[in-house]
Every structure is written in structure tokens, then in C-alpha cells.
Amino acid sequence: MPGAYAYYPGCTQESSAKEYGESTKLVCEELGIELHEIDGWTCCGASSAHTTNHLLSVALPTRDLQAAQEMDMPVAVICAMCYSRLKYASHELRDPKTLALVNEVIEKDFQNTTQVLHLLEILDKERIPVRKSLKRLKVVCYYGCILARPKKVTQFDDEENPQIMDRLVSNLGATSIDWGFKTECCGASLTLSRRDLVRDLSHRVLVAAKQAGADCIVVACPMCHSNLDMQQEGIAQQHGDQADMPIIYFTQLVGLSLGLSTEQLMFDRHFVDPRPMLREKGVI
Amino acid sequence: MIEEIQAKARELLEDGTVSCVIGYERASSGVGARPCFAYEPSDVDKFIFDNTCHNDLATYLRGLKGKKTAIVAKPYDSRAVNLLLNEKQIERQDVYIIGVVCVDDYRHKTKHARENASPDVELAIPVIYDVLIGEAVERKSRSEQAFSDVAEIEAKSTAERQEFWEEQFSRCIRCYACRQACPGCYCTECFVEQLDPLWTGIRIAPSENQLWNVIRAFHLAGRCIGCNECERVCPMNIPLSLLNRKLEQQALEMFDFRAGMDAETAPHFATFKKDEHLGIG
């Protein structure tokens, strides 16, 4: 049921994950899902905030939620980290004392009634008019750690074996391969500080995907994407095997099935260019 | 010595301590001795004692059960008394034991030239008595030659042993003299005479003879007191003591047990230790 949402893009959409944001916009237009970008949205604080100060880590996302409250629409999020932080905030705020304290901090009167949804949850309810079947495409869906975890906070999907993205890609005609690394960690925010570890973890994921026989990995998180895509060169250096594994946002995949062009979907921005693979599979 | 024996015997009969004294008298043949049962003090005059006095007088005690009886006991007879006490065949208070020191009790009985053959300690003094007659003498231990006779047999190969025993037992006429002379053989009905179960055929055949002799020996395992009467009385000169002494040796080695040394110690087959191995099983 196409509806209207208060859209929270998240900082990365303005730079490293532009293609995620753009594809999202295009896809939603195609599907008649209204995304109204929250005016003056600010950072959710990401892992840094809750690593450093608990109150801050709740206050920052609450500010955005409050903004959405004024728009009186459910919030649509695409970044897994943002999603997790927003969800976490509203979870914490169920405690009146915390709510009061945070309201004091943000000097607003937030009710904590605003619903937070990930685009996957929204699309899950949509009928997608597939114009271009992806039937020859074999993919693995990679949810990362925080999209589905912890369930008592996100209420997203099964913690250990989420299905929502797999459902989506099979709706698009592609084959989603079951594999064991759906929710394994990619190294997340250690990208800059302990890249060696990121490369270990991401390497595990890439190898698993290859063994599963996937043509590409479908992701729903900018951080996962950057770690898996951008680091592949470095991973090859560190571990001596070249994955050449395209990493594609689920929104880009939907876009393809809706017949959007590779330019519109910004495949040129990927470090590992998916287009040869897509061509070979007759998707483009 | 004989005077002392007679004096004691007379005294016991006179003051009524006992109603009968079992001793030895000269056999009618004029040579050798035979048991003598004295009921009157005067009977005692017939008593003799010398190294022709062989019989194990303890053998007769069961017959006089319940009657106060005195017996002239050589060392091995005294062991027999203990055996019978241990096996509840006689009551101590019914028996008066005139122990007689007997320097030469044992070897003079083995008719076979087994001079070395002797138990590890030679008994000269009765192990139980109410009065001791004769000089308590020291006897040297002969342990270095202990069971050398048994060792000889063991030295043979199995086949040789088979031959040896086959030869011996083939002579057995099953007169059962051995059994009659034995203080330990007092079953009302010996297995060999039982008809049901029929353990042995009555007819004389080596294997039946062997069965008889071997089982009789085993029935005396831990009970034979080594008086050697069986062998002495055997008309066919079968070295029966070789069987008994093998078992005596085993009992000594395995369980440090020797029959009849006292009346209390339980024989090895009537007791056990949980943690003994004994090389079987």
C-alpha cells in the first residue's frame, strides 16, 4: 500500500552511499511511495555516540524522531545503523524517566509514538511490478549485524535467519541462496581504526558468499557496503585471494527489475563493478 | 616312657576322669603293635610304646563320641585330634590327650626310600595335649629339603606324570584300607560307594582308580594332617602321600595353612580374602 513516510536518509547518503540514497528515491517514485525528507535531519550518533555516552546516543536520534513526529508520519530509514539507533532510542524512551530526561536535553516534547520502519519492511508489503526479471541472477542476502539485532529492540525479523530481503529478491525473480553469514559482522566502524580486522571479517563474508555460489552480495547497510566493496582490493592484499564479488544495494536490485538504467542506479560508483556480471546474467 | 604312660592311664581310669584309654598293645603276631582300648586300670598293663606303634589312634575317637576318652597321642595323632575338634566330630571336654614326644614319628613310616621327604618342620611334640610325656626335644628344621619328593614328580613331563600315576593306580585294588586308616575319612557313606549319583564304577579300572584316589586326596585338601597312615597301610605300596603332600604344599604356599595345627583356624576352603588373586580367573 503506497504511503507517505518521513524519510531519514542518513549521513552516508550524501557521500559514500549516494547510490543507495538515489536508488531509493527512484524506486520509491516508481512504486508511488512518498518519501518526505525530514527537514534538517541530523546524525543519529552512530556507534560512536553509544560508545561514548549513553544519554547522547539516545538524545541524538530522538531529535530526528521528534522532527518526524511533527510531520506525523512513520519514519522510513534505509541505513541499518541509523535504523538501529532510531529504534534503540524509541526502545529506551519507553521508560518515562529516560523520556523526560531526553526531552529535557532536546528541549522538546517528544511522545515516542512515532513508528520507525526500514525500507525493507515497507517494500515487504509492496507488490513490485517486475519489468525485467532477474531470473538468472543468484544472490546472497547480507543483512549485517544490527539490522535484525537485537530483535527485542528492532522487531525487524528473525535474528539468526532473517528472510525479508530474501523474500524481496525472489519476488524480483532472482534466486536467493541460503547461507550462514547473513548476520555475521563485517567489521563495522573499525574501518578507519583497525582496518586489518575489518578485512579479516569482510574476507570471511566474501569467501562464504563465493562458496555459496553467489553472483553478488545484496546489502541493506552502507557500512557493510563500504567494507565489503571498497576493501576488496585491500582484502586481496591481506589474504591473497581476489573475491571480485559485486556488492549491490537491494534498492539497486529493485531498480533493475523496474527497468531503471545502470547509470540511474550509479553502478559506476562501485569499486567492484557489477555491470560485467549483470551483463553476463542478461540482466542488462 | 611307657611307665609314665601307663601311670597316667591308670590314674585317669581310677579317678574316673575317663572311661576308656586308647593306647597300643603288642599284636598277636608278636611283632608290631595294635590299638588297645583300656576300660579297667588293669588293662593298662598291656600298654606298650615303641616305634612299631603306628596307628593314628585319633581315628577311633569318633566311635567313642560322648564317652570320656583318653588317647595316647603322637604328634600327628594330636594334629588329627585338632582336625576332629575343628570339624566338630569330638568335644574337647570328652577327650583327654596324653601327648607323647616322638622323635621318630614320620620317617619310619614311609616305606618308600624317601629319606629326604619330610614336611618343612618335623614335629616331635604334639600340638595339643593335656599331659606331655617324654623330653621336649628340639628338632632342627628340614625346610631346605621340604617337599623334595613332590618336586621330583613335578620335574616330570606331563606325559611322564601320566605314565607314573597310571602305573601306580593300575595297581590299586580299591580295598579302601587307606580310607579306613585315615582320621579324616569318616563320611557315613563315601562318594565312591554311592550308587546315586554314581561317581565311579565299582569295577577296577585305571581311570576309575585314578578318580577314586585323586578325589579322595582332594577331599583331604586342607585336612590331611600328614600321619601318612594311608600309605603305610596300602597293600599295593602306592605312594599315596605324594598326593596329600602336594596339596599340603599348595595350601602352605597359597594360604599359609596347615591342617590340625590348632582346633580353631578355619581351613582354607571355608574362608576367603576378597583381594587375593591366586593366579586363576
Binding site: S48, A49, I106, H270 | -
Partner: protein, 198 residues
């Protein structure tokens, strides 16, 4: 390592602090080790998550606040969701990070701590993360070690060519509010530390 003396007063104090901070009952941990078994980064830690929990139970502050584990943890929550005793271990790790900063421990993983600090600086300044600035000030500001800095810088050209590095900083109208929030939070923290409870 020398023998550790366990005394109620000391151990209680630290334990309670962590429990208060994390809102988790750490004494519930029965040391089954499932957290360590599932932790994707345990291999890189000096104390496995299980041992971190144990140390907290025993109140061994120095032992645990100086360890690398609390910094290597990326809050992937694997441990938390699988804990049979329903302890949010990731949350405990966070709390330990915060406490170690408060207590002025020099983090065993300098870069990690630096990154988070720089990240928040950027946000406070601009309301949103500006990756270009983030990478730049983290790497070139000499905050990270030379090794990581070079590694990071080496990525820049690629990123820029792929347009993954916005050159203009974001302009979030909410930035002022964000600044206020940071200020307010500091103020409240002040209140706490200067005795008065909330």
C-alpha cells in the same frame, strides 16, 4: 600476573558501577562462554568477552578497563542476542568503554577511541557526519597512527574519483540543536559527577 586479592568493598564498588551504567545484572552470568564462542572479534581480543564478564564479577577494574577487548568490540550484538542469561553484553562493553574514559584509562586501542572522538567532534560541528573531513582529520590530524593514516589516505583518491567523497560539507539546519544537545548532555554529566544524583 600476580595473585589477585578479592575483597568485598573493592569488588562490589566497581561491579555496582558497571551494573548501574549498563543496567545489566552481571552476576547473572554463569560463564558458559557462548558470547566468546559467537563473537566475530574474540580472536583479536586479549580477554574474551566471557573473561571480561568474569573480571567484572570479581570487580577487577584495572584488569578489565585496560584491556583491548572493550575497544575491539563493534557492538554487533551477537553476544547479547544469544546470551542464555539475557545479559546485553554489548551494552556492558559500551559501559566499560565509557567508564575507562571517565577513569582516564589510556585506551588499549588508541585509534578506535580516537575515531569515535573525531566522529563526534564532526557531528557536533556540522550536525551530520562529513566523511571527507572525518577521514582527513582522523588521518592527517595525526590522531591515528602513521600506519593506519597512510592506509586510510591511500583510499582517498579512489573514493574521490568514485564520487564517494563529498567535497562540500553537509549543511544541516539542525546543527544548532545538535550543538545544544551536546552541551546539555555535558552539563548533565557534570551534575552527576559533581555529586547530585539525577
Amino acid at each position: 600476573m600476580t595473585t589477585t586479592t578479592v575483597t568485598p568493598s573493592v569488588s562490589r564498588e566497581f561491579l555496582l558501577e558497571v551494573q548501574q551504567q549498563s543496567q545489566q545484572n552481571i552476576l547473572r552470568c554463569y560463564q558458559c562462554g557462548k558470547c566468546s564462542a559467537g563473537c566475530p572479534l574474540a580472536y583479536a581480543m586479549d580477554l574474551s568477552p566471557r573473561r571480561v564478564m568474569r573480571a567484572v564479577q570479581l570487580g577487577l577494574a584495572d584488569y578489565v578497563l585496560g584491556c583491548t577487548s572493550i575497544w575491539i568490540c563493534v557492538s554487533c550484538e551477537t553476544c547479547s542476542v544469544r546470551c542464555p542469561r539475557e545479559i546485553d553484553i554489548a551494552r556492558v562493553m559500551e559501559s566499560l568503554r565509557m567508564i575507562s574514559i571517565d577513569k582516564g584509562f589510556s585506551p588499549a586501542e588508541k585509534e578506535v577511541e580516537t575515531f569515535h572522538r573525531v566522529f563526534l567532534d564532526v557531528i557536533e560541528k556540522r550536525g551530520r557526519a562529513f566523511e571527507t573531513e572525518l577521514v582527513a582529520s582522523y588521518s592527517m590530524g595525526g590522531l591515528g597512527t602513521l600506519k593506519t593514516s597512510i592506509a586510510n589516505i591511500s583510499l582517498l583518491p579512489g573514493m574521490i574519483s568514485k564520487g564517494k567523497m563529498a567535497l562540500a560539507p553537509p549543511n544541516a539546519s539542525g546543527v544548532d540543536e545538535v550543538k545544544k544537545i551536546f552541551a546539555k548532555v555535558r552539563e548533565i554529566e557534570q551534575r552527576k559527577t559533581s555529586g547530585g544524583s539525577e
